[in-house]
């Protein structure tokens, strides 16, 4: 079994985020890039599958982005136990999920992965589309929000998280692309031996150029102003109740 795990470098929560002079992106020089949270769970799931199958399966960590920020997340993956890494180097700031998914799928096509695991979404942009789009572009079956996996002969069973505490089991034939929810396992931390051994593992760098014009652009990035406003509802009792119901239903949408 050949499993790809897509991992993305995102600014850590502890970083102090500053908007750069263009007002369309953040000042990357001052942020600390770390592995996207749900990607760590995806990697752990892949490593556990590999260990359980114990048949010489391969786990490959794949990332895309600029050399400075992202190449280190691969080291993290290799140190935890991935067999090799693919780094699609792309200094472009285009964040359009379709363009990105195309770049991934072009470069991963020849690898013929049985499984592509990705995190549910990236914690910086949160579009949650890359895994599904890659699955589509590579003709794979896809599922999102996986919280449990079970490898069976020629297929994978996925427990999906639905709304309001509902779950769903789906069975996908290989090849499949599955996005993984956070919290479904206990991601290991890399051991010292793993960290020191990572240097000797294969890490392929691909020069990735985005072919399409971006389908999405940032126009303006700003820090939301904290505004506290108190709205006072006045009038007779019936009027107040009607107004309140309207707000709860239509403005806050807490009742239907």
């Amino acid at each position: 079994m050949k499993i790809a795990v897509l991992t993305k470098a995102i600014p850590s929560y502890e970083s102090s985020i500053r908007i750069d002079s263009s007002s369309t992106w953040i000042d990357e020089s001052v942020v600390n890039f770390v592995v996207n949270e749900s990607d760590s769970y995806a990697l752990e799931e892949a490593l556990q599958i590999k260990e359980k199958l114990d048949n010489g399966s391969e786990v490959v960590v794949v990332t895309m982005g600029s050399q400075d920020n992202t190449s280190k997340v691969l080291k993290d993956g290799l140190a935890k136990g991935a067999d090799r890494a693919i780094f699609i180097q792309n200094e472009d700031s285009n964040t359009d999920p379709l363009s990105i998914a195309k770049l991934f799928s072009q470069n991963l096509k020849d690898e013929n992965f049985d499984l592509v695991f990705s995190g549910l979404q990236s914690d910086d942009l949160g579009s949650g589309q890359t895994g599904v789009l890659i699955g589509e572009l590579l003709g794979m079956s896809t599922a999102t929000l996986g919280i449990e996996t079970d490898i069976q002969d020629g297929k994978i069973k996925i427990k999906r998280e639905l709304e309001s505490g509902w779950f769903q089991w789906v069975t996908l034939p290989f090849p499949a692309s599955v996005s993984i929810q956070s919290g479904i396992n206990e991601p290991r931390y890399p051991s010292l031996k793993g960290i020191m051994g990572a240097k000797r593992k294969e890490s392929k760098v691909i020069d990735g150029q985005l072919s399409d014009d971006p389908k999405q652009n940032f126009i303006n990035l700003f820090v939301p102003k904290t505004e506290k406003a108190t709205e006072k509802i006045e009038g007779d009792v019936d009027g107040i109740v009607a107004k309140l119901m309207d707000i709860l239903k239509n403005k806050l949408r807490v009742i239907s």
Partner: protein
């Protein structure tokens, strides 16, 4: 990836990716496995020994040793960063690791026979066996040359008599490295296994410092061990002193961790706590404390990194380590005190780690060579005059 901790002068740029990843592993281990339970063990006056196999699996014990002896061949700076993280948790946790790696695995690796190495190093590095180091005696602390423990040759065996005091992990150790004088007065090291006839221990109770660490007394009454238990590669006091050099290096790094933890807690607190309608961080007197802390922490970081470089290049003299141990523990002790002040009444509570660090650092200030003894070592180095006696 960045150094985890206050990085005023960009020390990240002095660290490799491996070193940063290793720090992160240790940081996660401490945050997830140790910090949630430290207060409970501190209060009980014991150590969560069940963490040892996990620490072994991650590679923390004897990590700089060659792979064939259970190490990971990491740089001395990476090893220092592990100590930094462990002591951010608690000095007791770092002590355990310093003892296991620097004081037990190191002498076995350096001075032991192949048989001793084969028997002990894999278990000690895996954390399935615990070691302790017995040098200090109740009447011989700073001056171990006065030790009274004796080893007498008897045929192929040695008979050991005496006692050791203040021994970290003494009562739980599977193997004790015990230093004793032979009949010619030469100091020799022996590996005494738990359960050997005549070898007993009792724990020291009533400590107000380093409570999350087991400290014991060891008693040797006609303990008979074969000559194969002796560490043949060394004789004289330089044996135990060379081990202390290893462990003191880890303290120079560990103390920064304690200081960093105190500083970060105090910095965050000062920004949130308001008095006289302002965050207390806005008062000059608070800023002076914080500025002093970051200044000393930054100097300590740079000193520790240089010690690591010297160590890896085989240029490290024990006087360098004395400087690092003395300075970094002293500044950590100051930081704990200043941080405690900044937190006011909250500073004395176990909701925060500061008071625990402050109490722990009293031990760290004293063991592995007191601050005074390191002053004398440095003094001797620069003047050529010994002021010990």
């Amino acid at each position: 990836m960045k150094y985890i901790g206050p990085d005023f002068c960009n020390i990240t740029s002095l660290l490799t990716d491996e070193e940063l990843l290793i720090q992160k592993t240790a940081n996660q281990f401490v945050q997830q496995e140790f910090n949630p339970i430290v207060n409970e063990y501190y209060e009980k006056g014991s150590f969560p020994l069940e963490l040892l196999p996990k620490m072994g699996e991650l590679g923390f014990f004897g990590a700089t040793l060659p792979k064939e002896f259970g190490g990971s061949e990491i740089s001395s700076t990476a090893y220092g960063l592990i100590m930094h993280e462990l002591e951010k948790g608690d000095s007791g946790l770092r002590s355990l690791c310093s003892v296991q790696g620097g004081l037990v695995m190191y002498p076995i690796y350096k001075y032991g026979t192949d048989e001793q190495k084969k028997k002990w190093l894999p278990q000690l590095s895996a954390g399935t066996a615990i070691g302790c180091f017995g040098l200090t005696e109740s009447n011989h602390g700073s001056d171990p040359s006065g030790m009274l423990t004796r080893a007498k040759r008897d045929g192929d065996d040695w008979i050991i008599n005496g006692s050791k005091m203040w021994i970290t992990n003494g009562s739980v150790a599977d193997v004790a490295v015990v230093w004793a004088r032979d009949e010619e007065g030469i100091v020799r090291g022996f590996l005494i296994e738990k359960g050997t006839k005549g070898f007993t221990s009792s724990d020291i109770h009533g400590k107000m410092s380093l409570r999350a660490s087991i400290t014991s007394e060891l008693f040797m009454k006609d303990v008979r061990v074969p000559d194969s238990s002796r560490l043949p590669g060394i004789k004289g006091l330089k044996g135990p002193l060379s081990c202390l050099t290893q462990a003191r290096y880890s303290i120079a790094w560990g103390a920064i961790g304690a200081a960093v933890d105190c500083y970060e807690v105090a910095l965050n607190y000062s920004k949130e706590r308001k008095q006289f309608s302002k965050p207390i961080a806005a008062f000059q007197l608070t800023q002076q404390k914080l500025a002093h802390m970051i200044q000393e922490i930054t100097k300590a970081q740079l000193l520790a990194i240089q010690l690591g470089n010297l160590k890896d290049n085989n240029q490290l003299d024990f006087s360098h380590i004395s400087l690092g141990k003395k300075n970094n523990v002293a500044i950590a002790r100051d930081c704990a005190k200043l941080a405690r002040e900044i937190l006011g009444a909250n500073g004395i509570m176990d909701d925060y780690s500061i008071m625990r660090h402050m109490m722990n650092l009293e031990t760290v200030y004293t063991y592995e060579g007191t601050n005074e003894i390191h002053t004398l070592i440095i003094g001797q180095k620069i003047t050529g005059e010994s002021a010990f006696e």
